[in-house]
């Protein structure tokens, strides 16, 4: 009598255990997993509306449901997708694309030049962070059902590349006004979002689009994209074998490998200092190129790479990646660690007693980084004043509030990189630094022949490094891990491999 509650609790516990035991055993059938691709991501898409879409980390969410006009192969080559061929006029301001005539959106609407035109116009006028991709697009005309003519205000060497990304996601025009378009996309892509099985923000389930026009790109029946904003849960998911693949933090590589995953390493970013104030507007010292060079010499980048990224990566002093025409291997070691050289350069520039440099910090970045920066610059006599910018870190940098800052930035294709960090209008050139030589080289890259473009790009890179516009430390390795059942080809210019690059290993 006395032990009745105990007995009941024991029965409940036993029941629970037996049920879970069954489930755990019964759910992992190999047959199912070969047909479902389950990937881990760090963030969820903001909105499925094509005009509000993003790319990079969230690209797989959109690529599952939306086709693009042009497709980019893993090595960066552009190949036909919804557009079968394309051609520029002589001055590269009018682009004519031939479109497929056999594509339907999942709501039955036919894809044609008019649909493409409307999508491009909506993206350009929309609130996507990438809306500036189409800044050069002046006019889109549907010449006939399968001919689309795009007029550009000026040549844009990156334009075709943009048409392989979110800028040309094709959403059914009939769905533009749908109240639920942010959570229920209507495209012509390889998959359809299974809204019933999807928990917005956490887990997205997709089923094959039965009428998809390009079966060659579909390697799995189902697709599941899980979002792990927490490193802890991502690591648990990897270690328990829940995922076929995921982008992971470098600190997790060893444990992932121990759990049987393959580490597909790539270098997609560069880490170091942005020396924004090249005219010395807020910090006069930075106006002198010798000071900026001294800041480059001040960092023991090999030691930093070892300390911060377990040595996984390559020291560099240039912002262009090895895949780029502008890349010059000798520039990776242009400013080898040399604090005494840094001090003498500072002395030559009239800062023998050093100077004070204000830089922002943010809780988003490991605090030890800022300690290391302060320490290394102190060794050459530069006093760093760190200001906590909190969550406004990026906004403050872009608003030209700091002369210099620590930053991690991606390395894209040349023209995109130039327009992101170097040209006078680039977002990451907040002080609008301009230099006649830089402007001239950018113009050559824009309108020159292919050979002229390559030569100018190399020259621009060398000049920027000599002028010490930045103080890069290294290109850190990122890791995309895949399990034994999954193969993947990494993507040039995107942190997340493209969806069709995943294939079953067998």
């Amino acid at each position: 009598m006395m032990f009745r509650p105990t007995r009941m609790a024991a029965v409940v516990a036993a029941l629970a255990l037996s049920l879970t035991g069954c489930a755990a055993g019964g759910e992992t059938s190999t047959n199912e997993s070969s047909q479902t691709l389950t990937l881990g991501t760090l963030m969820a898409p903001k909105s499925f509306a094509a005009a509000d879409s993003d790319f990079a980390n969230v690209s797989p969410f959109y690529q599952a449901v939306y086709d693009t006009l042009i497709r980019m192969e893993p090595d960066g080559t552009l190949v036909p997708m919804l557009a079968t061929e394309w051609k520029y006029n002589d001055d590269k301001t009018v682009l004519t694309l031939k479109l497929r005539d056999d594509v339907k959106f999942t709501d039955g609407t036919v894809f044609n030049a008019e649909a493409a035109k409307q999508n491009l116009e909506r993206f350009k006028a929309g609130t996507s962070a990438d809306a500036q991709f189409l800044a050069a697009l002046k006019n889109a005309t549907a010449v006939d059902a399968t001919t689309l003519e795009l007029t550009l205000s000026a040549p844009d060497p990156a334009f075709l590349g943009y048409l392989s990304k979110d800028a040309s996601f094709m959403q059914s025009p009939a769905s533009f006004g749908n109240a639920d378009i942010a959570t229920n996309p209507v495209g012509s892509g390889p998959y359809v979002l299974d809204t019933a099985a999807t928990v917005t923000g956490t887990s997205y389930a997709y089923k094959t689009n039965p009428d998809y026009w390009n079966k060659d790109l579909v390697h799995y029946e189902n697709l599941v994209l899980n979002v792990y904003p927490e490193q802890t849960s991502l690591l648990s998911a990897v270690k328990s074998g829940t995922l076929n693949g995921s982008l992971i933090d470098i600190s997790m590589v060893q444990e992932a490998e121990a759990a049987g995953y393959k580490n597909n390493a790539f270098e997609g970013n560069w880490v170091g200092l942005m020396l924004f104030d090249r005219a010395g507007t807020t910090n006069p010292a930075l106006k002198d190129v010798r000071v900026r060079q001294a800041l480059n010499y001040a960092f023991d980048t090999k030691a930093l790479l070892e300390a911060v990224n377990q040595g996984r990566g390559t020291p560099t002093t240039q912002v262009f990646p090895p895949s780029s025409d502008a890349y010059d291997a000798s520039l990776d070691s242009r400013y080898a660690y040399d604090p005494s050289k840094a001090k003498s350069l500072l002395a030559e520039a009239g800062y023998a007693n050093g100077f004070t440099l204000q830089m922002p910090s943010t809780p988003l970045v490991n605090a030890s980084i800022f300690t290391l920066i302060t320490q290394q610059l102190k060794d050459i006599g530069v006093t760093v004043e760190t200001v906590d910018a909190g969550n406004n870190f990026i906004a403050d940098l872009l608003a030209a509030k700091y002369a210099a800052s620590y930053m991690i930035l991606e390395q894209q294709s040349d023209w995109q990189l130039i327009n992101m960090k170097i040209s006078p209008n680039a977002a990451w050139n907040p002080y609008k630094s301009a230099d006649p030589k830089v402007d001239d080289l950018i113009r050559k890259i824009n309108v020159g022949s292919e050979d002229e473009q390559k030569t100018a790009a190399k020259e621009l890179n060398k000049y920027i490094v000599e002028q010490a516009w930045f103080a890069p430390w290294y290109r850190p390795q990122n890791s995309f891990v895949t399990d034994a059942k999954t193969n993947v080809k990494l993507q040039t210019g995107n942190v997340y491999p493209y969806l069709w690059s995943f294939t079953p290993a067998s």
């Binding site: 509650p5 609790a9 879970t20 509306a49 809306a131 500036q132 792990y228 270690k239 872009l398 977002a427």
Partner: protein, 313 residues
């Protein structure tokens, strides 16, 4: 009794109104440049202005609040600014996850606490000392540490349970149990520690009362006295502690859900507050305030059932 319930309901609704109004004003007044945050740092001013007007943020606060309130009364809490999902859908689908976790933890805690609490109070001696010591430890170790330990042992090494993810009960009961068992255990341990102490204390007090001696003198067995009379008297305070624990566990669930990647209220709260997704934060405020009101109401009724004196007061 009806009047008692009605009065409680009315004060509950009033409380909801006050909480949501205060929350709305605080959130919107301190919101900063939300449109800028949504469209990203590299967006143009025109894009920011467009987003701002799309969301109706360019109108006076009072107008915005009135629109929110009138719609909220009909169950329409608007849409998330960051993923476009209906707030009511997002919150209700996640509420079921969190409530099943918290409810599971409270039920398990209640069952286990009664057993251990009675055991400690009746046996005293070394049993009591052991229960007290273990109880303090259970209370002192943070829930997330327990969760990490459970994941590592039962999910990653023994593979008995799922390390992450969630399967709805309607899809597969076994799958559901495999995903919620460890989170529920992690949540319930602190709760058990708290409630055991309460039950043990109340029982020890009650066992010293004159009526126990009287009942025993009339020949009732010790077990019957404990379970039928003493526990009922000691149950009131324990129930109150359990209610407080329930509400506290809603907060504790935030971290546990992050660790197990469960699509619960915790995950949506962390994401929404981090981004400044105010419609969602408001939805979470409404839902949790409603839960608190309902739990208090249920506890009041249960107290009344256990102890008729409460009904009179």
């Amino acid at each position: 009794m009806y009047r008692f319930v009605l009065r409680r309901l009315f004060s509950g609704v009033l409380l909801l109104f006050v909480i949501t109004t205060v929350a709305y004003v605080l959130l919107y007044a301190g919101g900063g440049d939300i449109a800028r945050r949504i469209v990203g740092p590299t967006a143009t001013d025109a894009q920011v202005a467009l987003k701002s007007s799309q969301l109706g943020l360019d109108r006076p606060l009072l107008v915005q609040y009135w629109e929110w309130l009138t719609k909220a009364v009909t169950g329409d809490l608007g849409r998330s600014w960051f993923n476009g999902q209906l707030v009511s859908t997002g919150v209700s689908s996640r509420l079921s996850v969190t409530v099943s976790l918290v409810l599971g933890a409270v039920i398990i805690a209640a069952l286990i606490s009664v057993v251990i609490g009675v055991w400690a109070a009746v046996r005293r001696g070394w049993v009591d000392r052991l229960v007290q010591t273990v109880g303090v430890m259970g209370f002192a170790i943070p829930g997330f540490l327990i969760a990490l330990g459970l994941v590592s042992l039962f999910a990653l090494n023994l593979k008995w349970f799922k390390a992450t993810g969630y399967v709805p009960m309607t899809t597969s009961f076994g799958g559901w149990a495999a995903t919620v068992t460890l989170p529920i255990i992690a949540l319930s341990i602190g709760c058990i520690a708290a409630v055991v102490q309460q039950i043990r204390g109340s029982l020890i007090d009650a066992l010293r009362q004159d009526y126990v001696r009287t009942l025993r003198a009339r020949g009732l067995s010790f077990n019957r006295v404990v379970y039928k009379h003493v526990l009922r008297n000691a149950g009131g305070p324990a129930l109150a502690v359990l209610a407080v624990q329930f509400i506290g566990l809603l907060g504790g669930a935030v971290i546990i859900e992050q660790i197990f990647a469960l699509p619960g209220l915790g995950q949506i709260t962390v994401a929404a507050t981090g981004q400044g997704d105010i419609p969602v934060v408001m939805g979470v405020v409404v839902a949790t305030a409603a839960i608190v009101v309902i739990v208090n109401l249920i506890i009041d009724l249960a107290q009344g059932w256990l102890n008729p004196k409460v009904r009179l007061s």
